[in-house]
């Protein structure tokens, strides 16, 4: 089977179509626009639906409508667009409608610029929009994973009736790599809760309103139970040389690629560094981090923000090991060497 050289952003659309997506609604924004371009090109040719909405408020509302109608729906955007989607994301969670939302993070706040950052972490991972709600957050770090994670996102979204975020960044969106495409197209199953405009589904109601306190509390509890179930069932991460590690890098997305290179260089220099890369940020691999904490001298969280994931790592290890933050903002990306030198300096070489 041939591998296809494609951008991470394009790979999203290949993963989506093979994952059974039926509808794409979106609004252009750099550095996520190639997702919409690929969708505009490929969705109609594959007999699926593409529409450029007038704004992200509308595109997420269209996801809400089409998901309610039983479609497999996806959109792609970046920070400023995600801010506008907050309302719809909250409604989607409240009405428990499945959808897939790709965030190709750029540098902020405000208009910021189109360079990579990982500063939407708090917003996406800890509930985008009002109310106590979340969604699964997948964190790809290659074009291959942009395809694979989007591919599996639809099934997850339907299993939990929730939003599945694919949280990437400008570099993972723009990078071109060989991608091995999934060979099977997933089908979109019939949902007994959806609105098909027919006699069978006529009695269905999709709403997030609960007028009685105890009912609304019950609904909230039900959502939280679902999130707890996710933590048990789908938490996913990747480890490198943790068995004897004194130091542990924790990073996701583009930063995990750089840290992994640094980790290997440091090992070559005899420094016992391991690495843990969360593939799911929600649920977060906190149990595994807590397990590892006992053997470590230090955890280093590397991220392109003011330090957002680092708080989840600190919560996870419950003070059992010091947790340091290496961070960059504004779009600057560290070189492998910068990270190597910094840890080397701290450890005094060994």
């Amino acid at each position: 089977m041939g591998k296809h050289l494609m951008k991470g952003n394009e790979a999203v659309i290949y993963g989506a179509l093979l994952g059974g997506a039926t509808h794409y609604f979106g609004y252009p924004i750099t550095p996520a626009s190639e997702i919409a371009h690929a969708a505009a090109n490929l969705f109609p040719r594959c007999g699926k639906h593409f529409l450029q909405a007038e704004c992200e408020v509308s595109s997420i509302s269209m996801l809400y409508g089409a998901a309610a109608a039983g479609a497999r729906v996806i959109t792609g955007s970046s920070g400023p667009g995600l801010s506008l989607m907050a309302e719809g994301l909250s409604y989607l969670s409240g009405s428990e409608l499945p959808c897939v939302v790709v965030d190709v993070q750029r540098a902020g706040p405000g208009l910021g610029y189109i360079w990579p950052e990982q500063a939407d972490y708090n917003f996406i991972v800890h509930g985008a929009g009002h109310g106590s709600h979340s969604g699964v957050v997948l964190a790809p770090n290659s074009a291959q994973e942009m395809c694979d994670f989007t591919y599996k996102a639809f099934e997850l979204a339907e299993r939990y009736r929730c939003t599945v975020f694919v949280l990437s960044d400008a570099y993972i969106g723009q990078i071109m790599e060989p991608v091995d495409l999934p060979r099977q197209i997933q089908s979109n199953p019939h949902k007994d809760w959806a609105l098909y405009g027919d006699a069978e589904s006529r009695h269905n109601l999709l709403s997030s309103i609960y007028l009685k306190m105890e009912e609304l509390e019950g609904h909230n509890q039900h959502l939280q139970d679902k999130y707890r179930r996710m933590a048990e069932e789908i938490v996913d991460f990747e480890e490198f040389e943790t068995a004897d590690a004194d130091y542990l890098f924790v990073a996701y997305g583009i930063t995990s690629r750089i840290c992994h290179s640094a980790q290997q260089l440091l090992r070559n220099k005899g420094i016992k560094v391991g690495m843990l890369r969360p593939k799911t940020l929600f649920p977060f691999p906190d149990v595994r981090l807590r397990e590892l904490a006992g053997q470590l001298k230090k955890i280093i969280v590397a991220e392109l923000s003011n330090g957002q994931m680092v708080r989840d790592v600190r919560l996870a290890v419950e003070g059992r090991v010091p947790v340091d933050l290496y961070n960059w903002m504004g779009g600057r990306i560290p070189s492998t060497e910068e990270i190597v030198h910094r840890l080397e300096a701290e450890t005094g070489g060994l």
């Binding site: 591998k3 509308s58 071109m176 790599e177």
Partner: protein
């Protein structure tokens, strides 16, 4: 009748009222279980227009025989609970977004009849963008717009349709144009667009007017059944509670004050929509096999050889935007894939691409590639002077620098790298196109690095260029590169 709306009291003095059916429409629930077990009374205030409109819509649904097909999008506003009453598919939407939600539902099911029911705060305030764009796309949906010139649910604040001098809790001395602007005519705005097929403004002030509203509502739904396109009915409707009037007073006030500002009547009734809609069912399904073919899932691999890299290649290709720097990187990455190697390509992008310098980072390796960022390349291809100036010092000792010397008036200063000064643009012009200068550089790179073979380059180029008449000239560029290296190799 929708119980509890007190339509009987509302129409008490209008004997004509009795022409409207007394029996409850089938598409309304007999009792409102979603409100409360056994509930027979609605949540609307006495004299409110919402209940009347609900009845008219339900009757029309019954008469058109479309109950099973209807999906009712309720807004945020007093009618947020429309799903208590309508025995049809129901979805509750965020404030103002119902037209976007309805559009998407309609674009999912060709045979669904989708209703967007909205108040004036919902449609003309927060949701102005959604309604205008849904109308402009000519979505095949039906919109019922309840204009009561006030925010009902939240306690009587100003709406975009509040008339001048009308007192509300947020315009306690009346609406003044100088501060709050003028009341918005939604029907007129929608009528300024090309796509809608039906726009009518009606009033609930008197029984004869209600009969007209009934006809308009019916027409707007029938249009959707006939797949004609976008229909909107604006209904001037009383909100006695927030207008601080009795039911009877409110209808008089409506007729005397709202109707002059919002003239009732039909603004548009097209026999046919302005474009043929795409019927997705007829457009036909694309088979899974065809989709796999379109996505190239079964495409064969171009070529696999077993190259042995001396070391991982960290290549930086830099030049002016428009010199084909990014596409050269893609060509190199495609060759690496054809060689069965791992590769990554990362562009510089953004403002600097417009006119300034652009660069691409390409890694080629036997192993999975960690960081795709090339901070310290072992190969630099500099297509212009600013690129050589910017990146010369970053090249790792022992690496190599290939310079397009036609564009770079100086020599490489570093002595710890292999330098090749190739007049690539001049050579390319001699062959017939400046575009192929990059291929000449790539050829020399292939030969000196051994990272890709010339056979692979020759096989991949035809696959990656769109204009097939350029294949020949590219092959000549490869020959030129080979010849240059033979002559200049010391």
């Amino acid at each position: 009748m929708l119980a509890g709306v007190k339509p009987s009291c509302f129409f008490m003095e209008n004997k004509e009222m009795h022409t409207i059916k007394h029996q409850k429409a089938r598409s309304l629930y007999p009792t409102f279980e979603r409100k409360a077990p056994g509930a027979e009374v609605s949540h609307y205030c006495p004299g409110c227009g919402h209940g009347t409109v609900h009845n008219l819509i339900a009757e029309a649904i019954d008469d058109l025989g479309i109950q099973d097909r209807v999906v009712f999008c309720s807004p945020v506003g007093c009618s947020v609970f429309a799903y208590y009453y309508f025995d049809v598919g129901n979805i509750q939407c965020a404030h103002g977004r119902a037209p976007a939600v309805a559009s998407a539902i309609r674009r999912t099911h060709d045979d669904a009849i989708v209703i967007s029911y909205q108040g004036d705060g919902d449609l003309a305030g927060i949701g102005m963008s959604q309604i205008v764009h849904a109308a402009n796309r000519g979505e095949n949906i039906t919109v019922f717009f309840i204009n009561n010139a006030i925010y009902g649910m939240t306690g009587g604040q100003m709406a975009p349709t509040t008339i001048l001098n009308q007192k509300t809790v947020t315009t306690p001395s009346g609406r003044h144009a100088a501060n709050e602007g003028f009341p918005i005519g939604i029907s007129e705005i929608i009528n300024s667009l090309h796509a809608p097929v039906f726009v009518e403004r009606v009033s609930l002030a008197t029984a004869p007017k209600v009969m007209k509203a009934r006809m308009a509502i019916r027409k707007a739904l029938r249009n959707q059944v006939d797949k004609k396109g976008f229909s909107l009915v604006e209904i001037l409707s009383p909100c006695p509670v927030n207008w601080k009037m009795t039911a009877v007073e409110s209808r008089r006030w409506l007729e005397e004050n709202l109707e002059p500002v919002f003239p009732v009547g039909n603004l548009r009734d097209l026999a046919k929509g302005p474009f043929d809609r795409v019927d997705r069912k007829k457009a036909g399904r694309v088979s899974d096999r065809k989709i796999l073919e379109i996505l190239g899932v079964d495409e064969k691999e171009v070529h696999t050889s077993s190259i042995h890299l001396k070391e991982e290649q960290n290549v930086k290709i830099a030049g002016f935007g428009g010199q084909g720097v990014l596409s050269t990187g893609i060509l190199l990455a495609n060759c690496a894939i054809a060689e069965g190697l791992q590769t990554t390509w990362l562009p510089s992008y953004g403002a600097e691409m417009r006119g300034g310098t652009a660069n691409a980072s390409v890694n080629i390796s036997h192993e999975a590639i960690g960081s795709p960022i090339v901070s310290f390349p072992n190969v630099l291809m500099a297509m212009n002077l600013p690129s050589l100036d910017a990146f010369e010092d970053t090249v790792r000792p022992g690496g190599c620098i290939l310079v397009n010397s036609s564009m770079v008036p100086r020599q490489v200063r570093r002595t710890d790298v292999a330098a090749y000064h190739i007049p690539a643009t001049d050579m390319a012009n001699n062959i017939g196109s400046p575009q192929i200068a990059n291929v000449i550089l790539l050829t020399v790179y292939a030969l000196v690095s051994g990272a890709i073979t010339l056979e692979t380059l020759q096989k991949v180029i035809p696959l990656s260029i769109k204009r097939k008449n350029l294949v020949n000239i590219n092959m000549k560029a490869i020959e030129a590169g080979i010849a240059w290296l033979e002559e200049n190799r010391k």
